[in-house]
Structures are given as structure tokens and as C-alpha cells.
Symmetry: C2
Subunit: 343 residues, 2 copies
DNA sequence: AGATACATGATTTACGTACCTCATTATATA
DNA sequence: TATATAATGAGGTACGTAAATCATGTATCT
């Protein structure tokens, strides 16, 4: 059971090793007929290139830059921790990862960071896109310089980014709507939405999907006009306070952004936790605790470790012009209840 | 920016290459003090062994055998398809995969298959465990022969298997209970459970978890005694027919096994699809269709591609005595609604 | 026919680690 | 002190592919 190597292919096709190499690596200077012969030989003896040997010989290296907001939301912290812990793992596969900080909610800072990256320095850049024309242009410049741009969490669909790693946020909103709708149905009644910022595309999309579903499928439910927390706990707490006072019959809340602590604090103070059905985003320590205690009913989640690994694999795949497994790179819209929480 | 190699470690530690090699590969014949020096040097200059070069030099090969039931449930078919499609991908990483058929629901067939495997032939075996003492003993013999046993989907916890790849089925049952409970609550009323076979540990566990949650958290809900479909559509259809006739006020069904077509057929014939809330297992073409049409409300799922990849990675990790990323190998209990279905 | 471009062969080096052999030096044991 | 044993060094080969160089053969064109 010896391994099938390029030498065997050469023998089988009755050509030299050099020609096999030319064919396999799509180098010029080989007749079409010869190319065919080599391919036939590959098929016949079942040759597959040894990835380890190939990578070693190619002495390929991948340098990836992650641009992460210096904000301190639990979700971002987990993402950052995941990136940092992948540094040593990925180094074994010749992938060198650097993290650069940018200011959160700040398009200019992102544009500056993108413009500061050269193809000599980095193979690809992974970042959370802010939906602004300047960012779009910066992505274009980046791609033109030969750096692979990968958007994470939040996308700019019509930009020059090679790939988006993240969930379909409209679908996530619809999912939240389906859940919360069923939870408060058939009683019917009022449901409120709290967004982080209407400037973030993912938040906007989530709200859109949520309202779609509620309006079309749960006609018994009334939507209370949504408010912006700016992902700030103090603001969120005030919003919920007012909400609970003004609508004592409130049945459910969909919390689109971060600032879950503020929401929880208000619910608890009004002794409405466990009564009002809550669907929120991102499985963090806070929300796990709230799920356990019954204050939250469901969490919509996108797995940070998976997203980080996926982004890294995608940079390598695009750099090599390789294809990749669609199914492995699709980020799922995870639903967590108390009972299917990890740990 | 040159790569840090073993040579650099040798220079830094002021020892020969041979000694560095002895230390890194834990070979005997090195003083404790010298080992320390080498480790210190590794730390200082940040050396990480190049996996590609290492694997190449080691000329390591992994041979993995998947034992799959020849049954034709959609879930098993997807699993099998995934294994087969991974053959060519994994070959590039020197992993050779073979599939062997065994009879479904048949412990003897599994035991025979396990006993027929030698360490010369295979590095590891991946199989769906049937919970029987004979199987447990066969696993022990297998492990003693030096083959790595990995259980998939269904486990025997106290056996000699190296690892279990799959979900916690009690938790899956609880998850189903939480969902269905909330869906039919606060109306209260009757909910029925249909199992595939009480001989399968995963089915038993699911029912257990489901009943736990319903009993403790949704006291308004009455559980209709559960019945066995043996994963047969004709049987399942008959069961549901009787159920719907006997309990016209039935609010929900938890379908634990396969045989979803029978369930659907009966519901449709009685024009109760969309009325009765249904939670079932495994996202297949049938259940996707049913989710879309509103006949099913939620599907509890375990991702076959992920499980196959995980099993393969685990065989390699155990074979090399390496550690692995817990988080990457944990199989999630996925919840799918119409709105977060893939595709 | 001679120049020219194209197609192919023959051969070599490099990648970074594993692993083997043989020689040499340091340390412990009798 | 002689001898056994442990610890280390020096050096080489192999793994399978990539990539380069130089030589040689063949067809094409004016």
C-alpha cells in the first residue's frame, strides 16, 4: 500500500516529472494532448496531491489582520479572545494572525485602518463592516492592492469584499419573530422591540425580519414602536422602565442589540422577569444566567469561534484560489433555550 | 521575517539538533536540566513545530472505518453521503476512509463488524453504538487491540470508546419540551409523544428529558401515553390516526424518531396540520418541507457533516495523542424553525 | 536550410521535521 | 582507576511536492 506520488503519475502518463508538475500546477508550455494524458493518468491511478508536502514545498505563509473594535461588549470580548487563542494554533499551519484595534461605531477609524494595510504585510483582512460609502471605497482600494477583504458579523453586500462571514440578519429577525410570536400567541397583545443602533445594518435587518413575521403571521400581536439603546445599559434600562409603566400588559420584548444588563435590571425591578417573554441576541455569560433563571426565553446566537475559524480558512482558500466547503463555512443562526445551552 | 525552526532552537539552547529533536519528541536520554534549557529556548524565540513538515516526515497515515447501518432513513442517508464525500477531501491529509455496512437495529451485526477490525487495517472505527453488553465487550476488545473506537449519534457511556460524537439526547428532549411547552402554553391541554424504539438509548433519553420539562414546568399540560412507531411510516400513521380520533383536543406532538412521513400523512388527512403544534427531529427534505408549510413548528437537529468531520479529527487526535479544541468538537443541539433553515 | 518558437526531458535544490547511526564526552559505579 | 552507562554531538537520509535551470527535440515559418 504505497502512496501514489507524482512520480507514479509521470510513469503512467509516460512523461517526465517536469511535465507532470507543469500540468498539475497549470504552468504554460504543455500541449493539450499531453495535458489530457496526464489527467488521465491521475484519474487512473488515483493520485491526490499531498497537502502537507505541497505546503511545505510552497513555503506559503498566510498573514491575516483582524480589525476589532476596542468596545467592551461581551460578544466582542469573546470574539477577541477567540482570535487571540487561535494565534498559536494557526501558527502551526503557517498562518500568522495580528489584531489591530479600531474605534467602535466609527467609520473613519475603520477606513484609516483599512488604508494602512498593504499586500506585503497581509494576505487578508477580517473586519466588521460599517455600512458607509467611505468604507465601501476603502474595501475597493484594499482589494485592488491585492489584499483579501473578509467581512465579519456585519456585511456590505455590494462591496468588493471576497466573502462575508456571519449570519443572515433578516432571517435572524424572522426567527426571533417566529419564536416570540408563538410564545405569546394565541393570547395576543403587545410586543416591543429594542434596537442597539439604527446605523448598524445587522440591527436594522433584524428588526425588519422580526416585524415582517409578526405582521404577517401573528395578527393578534401589536408592535410597540421600537427604541434605540445605543447598546448602553443605562439608556436601555430607562427605555424598559418607561415601556413597562406605559404598557402594563406588555407580553414580550425582542432585544436586538447588546445592553442586556439594562433590560434585565428593569425587568427585575418591576418584578416582570419571567412574565414578559424575552428573546435576545448573543449567548454571553449574562444571557446564559438570564436563560437559566427564566428571565430570557430564547437567545439567538452566532458562534464566535466558528466565525473566526471560518474567516481564517476563507482567507487561505481565497489566497490559494481554492474552493471550500460551503456547508462548513455557513454560519448558523443558533437558537438557545435553557435546555440546549453549552456547558 | 524568517520562520523559526528547530535549528534556531538548537542555537538558542546551545545544544545540538539531535538533542532538540530528542526533547521535542520526548525521546529518552536527555538530562532534566537540558530539557529545561530547550523548553526555555522554545519559549523565548517562539518556536512552533511546522505541522506540514512534521506530518510529511512522519509519513503518518490514518485509516478510518465507518460502520453504517444499511437502513434508508433520510438522516442516515445524509450521514452516509457526507462520509463518502469526505473520502477525497481527507485523502489529501493522508486519511483513508472506508465504509462498511451493518444491519440496522442489530447488535450482533455490529459486534461482528467490530471484531473483524484489526489495528493493522485501521487506526480508528466510527460507529453508532447499540446499547447492549455484547457491544460494550466488543468495544473493549477493539480498544485492547489498539484501535480507537469512536461512537457516533448514540453512545455507550461506560464503555471503552475513546470519544462520543453526538448530542446529549436528554438535553435534546428537554429542549423539545421547552419549545412545545411554550408553544401550547398557557392554553394547557394534551400533548403526545411518539418514539421510534425504546431499545435505542437516544430515543429513551429524549423522552425522558421531554417528560421532565413538561411535568415540572408546564403543569397545565397532560401527557398522552407514548407509543412506538419503530421508525415505520405505516405504523406511525396508524398511531397518529388513533391519537387524533381519541383526542380531538390534542394540542401538540413530539415525534422522537424518524417516520415523519406517516405522521404528516395522518395530520393532513385529518386536516389538523398547522393546528397541532409539532416538534420533531432531524432536518431532512421531508421536515424542511413540513416546516415551510407550517405542519411542523420546530425541528431539533444534529448536524451530520459536522459530526463526520469531528469524528475524523478525533481519530487523528487520539492516534497522535494530541489534544483538540473542545468547543470545535462539541455537537450542538440545533433548533430549526422555518426562518433559520439553511438554503 | 536556417532561424525561431514551442514542447518536453533530465536533474537539482529546497522546504522543516523525524529518525537513524556512529562517535565522543561526561558522569556514575565498582 | 578502570569500566560501564548516560548524555550529547555530528551528520546524513527520507518524506512528496514545487520550482528552477539547462539541454534537447520537434514543428513552423520565411
Amino acid at each position: 500500500m504505497k502512496r501514489v506520488t507524482v512520480h507514479d503519475v509521470a510513469a503512467e502518463a509516460k512523461v517526465s516529472l517536469a511535465t507532470v508538475d507543469r500540468v498539475l500546477n497549470a504552468r504554460p508550455g504543455v500541449k493539450a494532448a499531453t495535458i489530457e494524458r496526464v489527467h488521465a493518468a491521475v484519474e487512473k491511478i488515483g493520485f491526490t496531491r499531498d497537502q502537507h508536502a505541497a505546503n511545505l514545498a510552497k513555503r506559503r505563509e498566510y498573514r491575516i489582520c483582524f480589525l476589532l473594535p476596542s468596545g467592551d461588549s461581551a460578544f466582542m470580548q469573546e470574539l477577541r479572545a477567540e482570535v487571540e487563542s487561535s494565534v498559536s494554533v494557526e501558527r502551526q499551519q503557517r498562518t500568522f494572525i495580528k489584531v489591530r484595534d479600531i474605534l467602535p461605531f466609527n467609520g473613519v477609524s475603520l477606513v484609516d485602518a483599512l488604508d494602512a494595510i498593504s499586500a506585503e504585510e497581509f494576505t487578508g483582512v477580517v473586519f466588521i463592516a460599517t455600512d458607509a460609502p467611505q468604507v465601501k471605497q476603502a474595501i475597493k482600494r484594499l482589494a485592488d492592492r491585492g489584499v483579501i477583504p473578509i467581512t465579519l458579523i456585519s456585511d456590505i453586500p455590494s462591496s468588493a469584499r471576497a466573502h462575508f462571514v456571519g449570519i443572515d440578519n433578516t432571517a435572524a429577525g424572522r426567527t426571533a419573530g417566529s419564536l416570540l410570536g408563538r410564545f405569546v400567541y394565541p393570547a395576543g397583545g403587545k410586543v416591543a422591540v429594542i434596537v442597539g443602533s439604527m446605523l448598524l445594518r445587522d440591527h436594522v435587518d433584524r428588526r425588519l425580519g422580526f416585524e415582517q413575521v409578526i405582521r404577517t403571521e401573528f395578527p393578534g400581536i401589536t408592535l410597540v414602536p421600537s427604541m434605540e439603546s445605543n447598546d448602553d445599559n443605562t439608556v436601555a434600562e430607562k427605555i424598559v422602565d418607561e415601556l413597562l409603566v406605559e404598557h402594563p400588559d406588555l407580553l414580550g420584548i425582542y432585544n436586538i442589540g447588546a445592553a442586556k444588563q439594562g433590560l434585565l435590571a428593569s425587568l427585575k425591578r418591576h418584578k416582570r422577569d419571567g412574565q414578559v417573554r424575552v428573546v435576545a441576541h448573543d449567548l454571553t455569560d449574562d444571557s446564559k444566567e438570564a436563560l437559566r433563571g427564566g428571565a430570557f426565553d430564547a437567545i439567538i446566537h452566532q458562534d464566535p469561534p466558528h466565525q473566526v475559524r471560518s474567516a481564517i480558512r476563507l482567507v487561505r482558500a481565497y489566497a490559494d484560489g481554492r474552493s471550500f466547503l460551503e456547508s462548513q463555512e455557513r454560519i448558523r443562526i443558533d437558537i438557545f433555550l435553557r435546555d440546549n445551552m453549552p456547558d
